[in-house]
Amino acid sequence: MAEQIERSEEPQRSAVAELRDDAASRKRFLKMAGAGAAGGLAVLFAACGGDDRSGSTASETSTPAATATETPAGMSGDLEIVNYALTLEYLEADFYAQVIDSGLVKDKKLADLAKALGQQEQEHVDALKATAEKLGGPAAEKPRTKFEDVLSGGLETVLNTAATVENLGAAAYLGAAGGIEDKDILAAALAIHSVEARHAAALNELVGRSFKGDGKLEGSLPDGAFAKGMSMDEVLEQVKPFIAS
């Protein structure tokens, strides 16, 4: 078993490497479900408890997410999504960097965790930046962030904000996935999406929220067994307080 999991690193690495090196070469457009399949699958979305969002995140028409990312040319749509993700990752990476610099985290284990999460966000930044450039760019600029109020709020505020941002990140990737046209970019987005979800769950736990977040963070937290995606507009609205420019 351990070897199996080890061995699996190879396809993942190559998927990411291909994303960097060869993103456009094996482009495939997602086929939208026919009306029949969509009707049959309505059952699933009813079970998901989301008559609009969980189903519509992946839908090509009539959703905020799709509208936000709608462009005639596929690759420019993907570039927009990659730059959106890059902006969020910049925000997260910068947040962890500032938290670590602030010295607010005295507990060694917690500090190690913050460093590990921050490092992973930075890896996401690097991969997405390279991807945006590969797609013809330009890559989104690093946003000027505004975390002074959070940092001056002390450790609890910091951890709660980290949880907020991670949950938003997970919801953002889930909301955007259906709009991604290039298979390799989708694979990379999925590989990042689940890492954001791991971060989010760990931080929810550390700040004493339940799995469902105790009613906080409505919108970005899972509705029990099924996670919900958020549109670009919804996510950007919620991260606005942390962006200075």
Binding site: A15, A33, A37, L41, Q120, K228
Partner: protein
Amino acid sequence: MRDPQPAAPELAAIEIHGMSRSAFLVRSALAAGAVYGAGAVSPYVRGSLAQSGGGDVGILNFALTLEYLEAAFYAQALKDTPGLSGDIKKLATEIRDNEDEHVDALTAAIKGAGGKPVKAPGVDFGDAFASEKSFLKLAQTLEDTGVSAYNGAGPSIESAEVLGAAGSIVQIEARHAGLIRLARGETPAPDAFDKSLTTDEVLEAVKPFVTS
């Protein structure tokens, strides 16, 4: 391209959408070839479960098998593991309930798409429930494998709706994985990018726990 022969002959008995696993893999490879040309089969089959029109049902059934496995794992853990702490019992109960809901949703989706849901596999988790420690160790492996299975299948999903549903479920699997890892004192994410696994790799990973 990947050898379509079963790496684990005993798993050929697992039926996917009414086909033996081996037939399923061969058929999906052929379907991929038909759509993209033979030369394109390899990249598309790698990291994927199926490409054909019936591929989404095949993927849903594959996911259903994994969810059945996980649901049975937590149900048995709660019943058999001695001395589970309150926190771990609560976490395991929450996860079990989530996995049960995934089973129900996937079953409904497969039926809704005109497919035939697979039956729950026979399971044997060996001595995983000897202690809380051994239970959490295997839980981590199963959750990480589940995440990688969904991530591997995702790009092959043709229907936007099915992709949305799979994304909705995999995020929960990833949250489970993060929490189990945290409970074990490990970092919630072992890597900045979660791995994706092929069908073969997933089946190989869960082989020790599937008896039929």
